[in-house]
Each structure stands twice: as structure tokens, then as C-alpha cells.
């Protein structure tokens, strides 16, 4: 059994309105020394499979076809044997 930890990150060149608004929020709290706020997705799930290589391909396919939007996002992931 493996646990996949996947980061879906919006490409840095693409506008992140949410990051912009949260930066505004943090500053309104009085923390002026903050910049480049980015909000991204962190997805976890378990895969009932023993062969790590097979798991890696499977997770890669899942990210590429469903979890990440190729026009806006990049992804990377770590696997943990549980």
C-alpha cells in the first residue's frame, strides 16, 4: 500500500487572483513584510498496489489526465510506503 502526496501548483507566470487577495488580507493584519503569496492544492490518497514503479505510473497518469489543468498548472508528487 502506498500513499501519494501530490502538489498541484499554478504556473508562476499565470495570474493567481486568490494569492493576490490573501496577500491583501495578511497585510491588513499588519504584516507588511510578506510577498509573493501563492495558494495551491495538496492532494493525498492511498493506492492498494505493491510495485512502486506501477504506482508511480498510475499516479502520474491520474495527475496528468484529471488532477492538474495542463494550461494553468504543473504537478509533482512523493510516494510513501504505508
Amino acid at each position: 500500500m502506498f500513499k501519494a502526496k501530490i502538489f498541484i501548483k499554478r504556473r508562476r507566470t499565470i495570474l493567481d487572483p486568490q494569492g493576490k487577495a490573501v496577500e491583501l488580507g495578511i497585510k491588513s493584519l499588519g504584516f507588511e513584510n510578506i510577498k509573493n503569496v501563492r495558494i495551491d492544492k495538496f492532494i493525498e490518497f492511498e493506492i492498494d498496489e505493491v510495485d512502486e514503479e506501477k504506482v508511480r505510473n498510475e499516479v502520474d497518469k491520474i495527475c496528468d489526465s484529471l488532477l492538474a489543468n495542463p494550461h494553468l498548472e504543473d504537478y509533482y508528487f512523493e510516494l510513501e510506503k504505508i
Binding site: 504556473r11 507566470t13 487572483p17
Partner: protein, 660 residues
């Protein structure tokens, strides 16, 4: 960037023809540098210059009646509705970006059309979406439909404009090229209308709203090119919409207009800074000196070329009144928006763009714009064979349909006719507390606060009809949208249009375009509904599909007194049902023919425009006399479907009908 040597080959790569490259050299008296070439390439693209359509568009009735501005003069059409109010409205397409990334494509389409409205000082009070996709069974269609509907909903709902009407069709012809047309309607006091003009030597020029990134560079030219693998790779990153920033931009814009601090304002749509600076200058026959170093950037070391052509969203160009600079800045500060002075107006017809102290581009403003130096072409056309072939097919010997009940159920469940509340329940259609007739009826009705009036709005076009007979099909589209608003008690007063066609350099496609414009002209004259402006979207085709010619009509109707507002569904037992107009055995290009025989052929229904106008006038006078409890227009699916709809639409009460 400017060290790049500008050759004919580079100009061709930018989408300019050889003659157009020569024309640029004539205007400048020299070879343009790389940045200047980019400016001409995007300003003379089909999307911005309308070069292959403006000649024909000018033949449409574009003034008179209640129009306050001539079509094309301003960012949107403007119609006087009395009581000191005017309505601004327009429809635009975002087809190509939505085919690539449906959510952001549709969302930025809505954002763009909303800016066209509030740049005139009008507060948006209604939005509509006219959509066309491929076959619903195709997974790609489901992906696009979900993305587009969510994009429209998220943007409109967050911005706070009710999305109240529209239509969606599923046809094989749109498989590779979905159509996403967004319409917006706004209300403005006639003494608070803002102009998109730059004049007055020394007046400050501001860029306001979001920062500038590399979004959608070549966005304009991208929209004027067929979707092929080549364009896929060349396009730079996708434009992303921020409805929250747009709402702040709306409030700040209306405030500086109300406080009379500005000379002119224009939103930044296709071709961003170069388009707004050149169009505003040309309208005021003046020029601008701009320092690009002062433009707030979201990405580092952007070149002058990229800054001028970037299509980052939620930005406007403002020409302020000299001396009001601080007050203007204060308003934008209040709304937490950037507002930076990037230059000033100059006397002569010249745009000078500086970067790092160097003059990066020097161009006559008028040479760039539609109506100025942009080329105008008169394309040839050729009637395609399919036209005579298909319209002469005799449909009288089709096999008899025995079980009419099953037939009606089959029609009612066809994707083009079935109930669309799965879509509009994702839209906020009651924000603004003005929506009297909600989505699902013939047209949406929006009351105008502080008056006794209301407006009816609707979009219409049957692509199959226009394919089979472009002229008569377009007449039918105008007539149907007029009938739809009349059913709510409104007098049709003006239209906007979004002309979705294939490649204009293809003679047969241009024949479709020419015929459609002819049909629209005749119908608009008879219905006295002038064209207030709109949008042309060519190149809606790909390797194996060309879309049906789809001239979407956005109709505006006026209800003088809210007591005349009429909904579409049957009300009480014992009410009498009347059919106005004549019925003829016409099923050419019908939904029935498509659903039962999978055919798109035959001669489409005849139309007598004078009779249609008479029918509409009669219906409205009957409503005004108080004789009518509901009215519904017959369109896809004919009488049987219309009667069924009148019963089903009554949510509160189970009701039926007996017809002889």
C-alpha cells in the same frame, strides 16, 4: 527585442500580408521595428480591424430611432429609454479561448463584455450567454459544457450581475469549435455617459486595475486563426479572470465618472494597451506620449512588445482632467486598486512609447484603427452547391409517425429543447433585485428602478436554418428574438449581434456571411430595430468541421409600464388558447427532422417580414389592453412542444391543455 531585424518573412509570421506590410511602411515612411510590427499585426488582425467584414457591416441600419451613439462609435450600443435613462448593451464572442481552456475562456469572455458596458458609465444589470457545443454524447462536449457554465457562473455571480437568459445548442458542426457568446446590458443616466476618447493636450493618461503580465499575447490574432496544432503551440499562456478585481474596477470607474474627473475611459480587451491608446487617441484626433516603465508589471523583464500586446484582464485606460490627478488616485486607493499615471495626451496624431528612456515605438494613432488606416477588404463570394441541393429536397414523402405521444416525449427530451435549469440554476439570476421574468421563459424581463419601466432581453439564432438558407435563416433569427421579447409585452427597439462564421477567405463561407448580413438588414429595417454594434468571429473551423454560420441576435425590448409584463406559462383553468399567425407544412431544417431522421436539409420555413411585424404589433396591443394572461413563441419543436412548455413552466400548479 528591437535588434530583431524586421523582414517580410517576419511580417508574414505575424499574420500580415505582403500588401499590409507595404501599407505599414507607407504610414511610417520607413520599415517598422519589431515592436511596431507587433502593434500593426494585432491591430490589423481580423478581431480588432474587422477588415473582412466592416464593408458589409456598414450596410446595416446603424442609427436613428432611440440610438444615442452610432454603432462602432463607442464600446457598446446606447439606446434612450426615456425618464433620463439609457441602456448600454453588447454581445461578444470568446470562442477560441474557451475551446482551449473552457473555464477561464468563458469567465474572461464575461469579464470583457461587462467592462465594455461600465466603461460607458453604465452599471451592468443583466448578462446573457449564447452557447453552442458538439454532440452531447461526446465526453469532450461534456468537459467543455461543464467548464464554460462554471466559468460564466463563477464570474457573473462574484461580480454581482444576474445571468438571466441565453440559449444552448448541441450540433455536430460545433464539435471542434464551441461558440461562447456573452452579452451584457447596463443602465446609465443620460447625463452620466462616459466616452472612450482622449483629447486635451497635457491631460494625464492612467492605467488602472490589475498588473500586466504575459497573458494572451497574440490573443487577438489567436482569435482570428483556425484552431490547428500550430496555433496550439504558438499561443502563450491563458488569460485568467478575477471577478473580485472587476467588481472593484466597476465601483471605482462609476465613481470617477460621477465626480466628473475624467475626459475619457476605455476597457482593455483584445490587444490591451496598444488598442486602447490608439482607439481613444484616434477618436479625439490627438495622440499620447507613454512611458512603459510606469506600467505595473506582474512578471519581470517584459519587453515593450509584450507590455503593449498583453491582454491581462481587469485593466482600463483613463484620460483624466488635468489637475484632478490626486482625486482620481484617491478613488482607486479607496477601492484598493492600482492607478498609475503612465503618460499624457499630445496634440498631434502620434503615439510615442518609451521604455528605459528609449523611444520603442512611434506610430500615427489613426493608422492603426478600424475606420482609420486599418485595411478594408471586399471579398468575393460563391454560392455553394449544397444550397440549391439541400433546399430543393422534397420532404413530403417521409414515413408517417404513428405514435404521436412518444414523438412529443422524444422531442421534449432532445438536448436542444429540453429544460436547461441544470445550467441556469448555477447562475445567480436574482441578484440586483430587478429580475421579474426569470430564466426559462421567452425572454428575461428586468425592471428599471425609480421608473415604471422594464426591459426584455433575449439572444436567438437557429444555426441549422442559417446554414440551409443564410438570408432567410437570419431574418428568422431577428424575427424570433423580436417575437420572444414581444411575448413578455415589450416593444423590440434595437439589436446587437455576434457573427460566428468560418474562414472569410473561403468564397462559399463569405457567401454565407454576405447573405446573412442582407437578411439581417431587411429584417432590422422592417422591425425598426437598428444594429447598435456587436462582434464578428471568423475562423470558427478546424481540419474536419466548419461551424454552421451562426449570427446570434441580442434583442432589447422596452416595456413602458410594468403592469404589461407577461410570462409564458398557462395560468388558470378555463383560459382560452389562441394561435396567432399561419401554419404551413414546413419541416425543412427542423428539430423534428433532425431528431427523427437525423437530417439537416429541405427548404426552411418561409417568412413574410411585414406580416411578422404586424403580428408583433397586434400581440403587444392585445397585452396592453389587458386581454392576455400569457404568451409563448413557437420555435424549435413547433406547436406541440410550445403547448407542452406552457404547461410545464408553471411551477406552482399542475395544468394541462385541450386543443382542437
Amino acid at each position: 527585442m528591437n535588434e530583431i531585424e524586421v523582414t517580410l518573412d517576419l511580417a508574414l509570421k505575424h499574420g500580415l500580408t505582403e500588401e499590409e506590410f507595404e501599407r505599414v511602411k507607407k504610414f511610417l515612411g520607413r520599415i517598422p521595428n519589431y515592436t511596431e510590427l507587433g502593434c500593426y499585426s494585432v491591430m490589423w488582425s481580423e478581431h480588432c480591424s474587422y477588415k473582412n467584414s466592416i464593408a458589409l457591416l456598414k450596410t446595416l441600419p446603424r442609427s436613428g430611432g432611440r440610438l444615442l451613439v452610432q454603432a462602432g462609435e463607442e464600446n457598446a450600443g446606447l439606446v434612450d429609454i426615456g425618464d433620463g435613462f439609457a441602456v448600454a448593451f453588447k454581445i461578444e464572442s470568446h470562442n477560441h479561448p474557451s475551446a482551449v481552456e473552457p473555464y477561464q475562456g468563458a469567465a474572461t469572455g464575461v469579464g470583457g463584455i461587462l467592462r465594455d458596458i461600465f466603461t460607458m458609465g453604465a452599471r451592468p444589470i443583466a448578462a446573457l450567454d449564447s452557447l453552442r457545443f458538439g454532440d452531447l454524447k461526446n465526453p469532450k462536449t461534456k468537459f467543455l459544457l461543464n467548464g464554460v457554465v462554471k466559468g460564466i457562473g463563477d464570474y457573473g455571480n462574484c461580480f454581482g450581475v444576474p445571468t438571466v437568459a441565453g440559449e444552448v445548442y448541441f450540433e455536430e458542426a460545433y464539435q471542434d469549435n464551441c461558440l461562447v457568446n456573452a452579452m451584457a446590458v447596463g443602465i446609465v443616466k443620460t447625463n452620466r455617459i462616459a466616452k472612450a476618447v482622449a483629447k486635451g493636450k497635457g491631460n494625464p493618461v492612467f492605467i488602472v486595475g490589475s498588473s500586466t503580465g504575459r497573458d494572451g499575447i497574440h490573443g487577438a490574432t489567436f482569435a482570428s486563426e483556425e484552431l490547428s496544432d500550430e496555433t496550439e503551440s504558438r499561443r502563450s499562456n491563458v488569460q485568467v479572470g478575477d471577478p473580485f478585481a472587476e467588481k472593484l474596477l466597476l465601483e471605482a470607474t462609476l465613481e470617477i465618472i460621477k465626480k466628473d474627473l475624467i475626459v475619457g475611459i476605455q476597457d482593455m480587451g483584445a490587444a490591451g494597451i496598444i488598442c486602447s491608446t490608439s482607439e481613444m487617441s484616434a477618436r479625439g484626433n490627438s495622440g499620447m506620449r507613454i512611458d512603459l516603465d510606469l506600467v505595473p508589471l506582474r512578471e519581470d523583464n517584459m519587453s515593450a512588445y509584450e507590455i503593449l500586446l498583453s491582454e491581462s484582464q481587469e485593466r482600463m485606460l483613463v484620460v483624466g482632467k488635468k489637475g484632478c490627478e490626486e482625486e482620481i488616485k484617491k478613488v482607486f486607493e479607496k477601492w484598493d486598486l492600482q492607478c498609475l499615471k503612465i503618460g499624457e495626451v499630445i496634440e498631434n496624431d502620434l503615439l510615442e512609447f518609451y521604455k528605459d528612456g528609449k523611444l520603442e515605438a512611434k506610430l500615427p494613432a489613426s493608422s492603426l484603427v478600424l475606420g482609420g488606416g486599418a485595411p478594408v477588404y471586399y471579398r468575393e463570394w460563391k454560392e455553394p452547391e449544397y444550397f440549391k441541393q439541400l433546399s430543393s429536397i422534397d420532404l413530403s414523402n417521409l414515413p408517417e409517425i404513428r405514435d404521436l405521444n412518444a414523438a412529443l416525449l422524444k422531442l421534449l427530451s432532445s438536448p436542444n429543447i429540453t429544460n436547461k435549469n441544470w445550467i441556469y440554476h448555477q447562475y445567480d439570476y436574482t441578484v440586483g433585485t430587478n429580475t421579474v421574468i426569470q430564466p426559462g421563459c421567452d425572454a428575461a424581463v428586468i425592471r428599471i428602478k425609480k421608473t415604471n419601466k422594464a426591459i426584455a432581453v433575449k439572444t436567438d439564432c437557429n444555426g441549422r436554418y442559417v446554414y440551409l438558407n443564410p438570408r432567410r435563416g437570419t431574418m428568422i433569427a431577428v424575427a424570433e428574438s423580436a417575437r420572444n421579447v414581444a411575448c413578455t409585452g415589450a416593444i423590440p427597439i434595437a439589436i446587437t449581434n455576434c457573427l460566428n462564421f468560418g474562414n472569410p477567405y473561403d468564397k462559399e463561407i463569405y457567401w454565407q456571411f454576405k447573405e446573412a448580413i442582407e437578411g439581417m438588414k431587411e429584417a432590422c429595417i422592417v422591425f425598426d430595430t437598428p444594429v447598435t454594434g456587436g462582434n464578428v468571429s471568423f475562423y470558427n473551423e478546424s481540419k474536419n468541421h466548419t461551424v454552421y454560420p451562426t449570427p446570434v441576435i441580442g434583442m432589447l425590448g422596452l416595456i413602458e409600464n410594468v403592469i404589461h409584463i407577461t410570462s409564458s406559462y398557462f395560468k388558470d383553468e378555463g383560459d382560452l388558447i389562441y394561435l396567432l399567425g399561419e401554419t404551413a407544412p414546413e419541416i425543412g431544417g427542423s428539430e423534428f427532422l433532425k431528431e427523427f431522421f437525423n437530417k439537416v436539409e429541405g427548404d426552411i420555413p418561409q417568412i413574410n417580414l411585414k406580416f411578422e411585424k404586424h403580428l408583433i404589433d397586434t400581440l403587444i396591443s392585445l397585452i396592453q389592453k389587458g386581454f392576455i394572461k400569457s404568451a409563448h413563441d413557437l420555435s424549435d419543436g413547433g406547436l406541440a412542444v410550445a403547448i407542452a412548455e406552457c404547461c410545464i413552466m408553471n411551477r406552482k400548479k399542475k395544468i394541462g391543455a385541450e386543443i382542437n
